[in-house]
Amino acid sequence: MRDVAIVSYAQSRSVRRELGANEVEMVMPVVREAVERSGIPKKQIGFTVSGSCDYLAGQPFSFVSALDAIGAWPPISESHVEMDGAWALYEAWVKLQMGEVDSALVYSFGKSSMGDLPEVLTLQLDPYYLAPLWPDAISLAALQARAFLERTGRSERDLAAVAARSRRDAKASPRAQLAGDFDVERLLADPYLVAPLRKHDCPPISDGAAALVLAAGDLARKVARRPAWIRGLDHRVEPHQLGSRDLTTSVSTAEAGRRAGVGKGAVDLAELHAPFTHQELILRDALGFGDGVVVNPSGGALAGNPMMVAGLARFGEAAERVMRGDAGRAVAHATSGPCLQQNMVGVLEGE
């Protein structure tokens, strides 16, 4: 495999509702910033790929106008996945593995605030048996949470602790939407939203955009003082029908982690895409993390969850920490679909 690294990252602050900017206006600054930080002139970037979802805005081809944001002229080699930006990163990584290009721009955006997000996500479900019942995303997560709590003996207090820690850590992040000191006992005194989940167990609804630049081998070494090398990258999907899966584990995360080589060395920190508190615990178990692994120092999706961006953001946040030297070896994870149906795991290392 060819050495490929993340050499720059930019992300907008997650906000509950971006009133001022449309998608193009949201994407433009982060793309500019990521490209500038990469030190690679925009016209020299070999491949561009984005991730987004038409249904967030309720309009077909929302990615087409986003192309205006990046100045695609002269015409560029470009692709798009209707998936979280993390899968756009994967497509770019594959392109770099082919050896035809040495650098790639990856971006994604989502204005989740425009629609009723839990209902929009309902339309991700099997359109014959599931979607016609209109189960919302929070209800499905709650089914998983109860199964997990009952099987493992963990408690709602454990979940609240994840929320409190994430939002405390998020205080240090300028990108966070939800940050602050929360007392676990007080959180537990709140009513249920969909039992056993309370509001604090759920991610905020966020608008945002992110972009990063990948570079291969010598180019990465030339433009970055300390590139975040992608040492392993894999993704797996599980069956869709919830009643055919064991919701209390994440076998696809475990398999992707094994193939990405997570266990080949000590992990300093991990950015896990866990929109709901219990999902962080499921993912930690799947990746075999002990207490020594710092999880979601950025605050994770519980501090800001722009759809289609939050997975790519885990790679960006982890890469920034490797590039800064805060971590020698970091794990980044992205998820998609109901109850962690699809998962990607990457291992990032400094030199």
Binding site: L19, G20, G58, Q59, M114, P118, E119, T122, P127, Y128, Y129, L130, P132, L133, W134, P135, D136, S139, L140, A142, L143, Q144, A145, R146, A147, E150, P191, Y192, L193, V194, A195, P196, L197, P239, H240, Q241, L242, G243, S244, L247
Partner: protein
């Protein structure tokens, strides 16, 4: 058109009456529901999948014979909805549940009308409540309810 914090805002409604052809396997299941009958299908390795799919979810291989299941079953996990949304199957607090029907190896999602969360527990038995006017649709089952209720 309206204004919010000095910005122009407008409601956009995306609405379409999608009609989905169901093919032989789902078609037989929906036809069964119309007659208050629930059928699953057997995967090559022997598991009975309910609701039935044309394929084994684990391998993609085609599934085989139909098997009568239910109508009752057990709850494998559940979630209590305090404030139902307008599109939910019930307009009062209810449980979403994964329900493994008698004779099935997988669980299906549906609503359980239990009145209060205290009446819900994992492994409890439930039975379907049928709609009077059935058309061959997953909503021919209004919801499930605790057995003996």
């Amino acid at each position: 058109m309206a204004e919010e914090q000095g910005r122009l805002t407008k409601t956009h409604v995306l609405e379409y009456p999608y009609k989905r052809s169901v093919g032989p396997v789902l078609g037989r299941f929906f036809t069964g529901l119309r007659a208050r009958r629930i059928e699953g299908v057997r995967a090559p390795a022997g598991a009975v999948i309910v609701p039935p799919l044309e394929y084994d979810f684990a391998t993609g291989a085609a599934t085989g014979d139909f098997v009568s299941v239910g109508p009752g079953g057990v709850v494998t996990t559940w979630a209590w909805v305090m404030a139902p949304r307008p599109k939910h199957p019930l307009d009062r607090p209810f449980a979403w549940a994964l329900i493994r029907l008698d004779g099935a190896d997988t669980a299906m999602l549906h609503a359980v009308d239990a009145g209060t969360p205290e009446r819900m527990r994992t492994e409890m038995r439930v039975v379907p409540r049928w709609r009077d006017e059935r058309v061959g649709h997953i909503r021919d089952i209004v919801c499930f309810e605790p057995e003996g209720a």
